[in-house]
């Protein structure tokens, strides 16, 4: 992947979801990550989303864990 993919992901999603959610509502996002993707890169994407969209954001992350289990995380600033 390109080194700046975290920003690309965030910017793309921001451009799309701004048109689909009322300003007063939390923006709901589900992210499904790559194989064994590092926690730091996942957090980087979420941080980018928060930085641009503000705190009114809800993110559910899904990742396929090393033992074929789900690692889920929720974030809402």
């Amino acid at each position: 992947m390109a080194p700046n993919y975290r920003s690309i992901c965030a910017l793309l999603l921001i451009a799309l979801i701004r048109t689909s959610t009322a300003a007063s509502e939390p923006i709901p996002v589900v992210l499904w990550h790559g194989w064994l993707q590092k926690v730091s890169s996942i957090q980087g994407i979420v941080d980018n989303l928060h930085a641009t969209l503000g705190p009114n954001l809800y993110v559910l992350t899904l990742q396929f864990g090393t033992k074929r289990t789900f690692i889920t995380a929720h974030t809402a600033a």
Binding site: M1, I17, P28
Partner: protein
């Protein structure tokens, strides 16, 4: 993989903050899995779907072996060809769930229980719900990394037609 998509559907459906719908984004193989989630999971509604470097048409090469002509890579590919569609062996690595040998059409359609299904390539088994759910999206965006060395071939990342649909706004 089918079990995990089903599990993800339950998790998303049980989350009250997503009950009114959500935006979906996948990274790498997660892009393929979240598309399967969109196609198979009837609720909640999905507004937009973004695929970042996802192997939408599967892979025919291993991430750590980008040189298709190197002997080591040829042997690994041949090994994967032999096990990817075997009911006993295809679950040993998650990448085998979306292994797509272009030279083994019938083996792929019969033995790929995940990719061939979500791409509507299983013989005599179409699923109209898949098309209906994808066309209900406000947008579907595909991103390809031109220097990607993990998804082989890279063109898989921007496959924009399947299940009788054709998406033209890919980048």
């Amino acid at each position: 993989m089918n079990d995990l998509v089903e599990e993800a559907c339950k998790k998303v459906g049980a989350d009250p903050k997503l009950a009114r719908g959500y935006n979906a984004m996948g990274l790498s193989q997660g892009s393929l899995f979240i598309r399967a989630l969109v196609q198979r999971c009837p609720t909640p509604q999905v507004f937009n779907l973004v695929s970042i470097g996802g192997p939408q048409q599967g892979v025919y090469g291993l991430p750590w072996c980008p040189d298709a002509y190197a002997l080591k890579c040829k042997l690994q590919r041949r090994f994967a060809n032999n096990i990817a569609y075997s009911p006993l062996l295809r679950n040993i690595r998650v990448q085998l769930q979306y292994w797509h040998d272009p030279h083994a059409g019938s083996d792929y359609r019969e033995g790929s229980t995940f990719l061939a299904d979500v791409n509507c390539e299983v013989a005599d088994k179409g699923n109209p719900d898949y098309k209906q759910r994808m066309t209900a999206l406000q947008s579907y965006t595909l991103v390809k990394f031109t220097n990607d060395t993990e998804v082989l071939p890279r063109e898989s990342e921007v496959r924009n037609s399947w299940c009788g649909m054709n998406f033209i706004n890919s980048i």
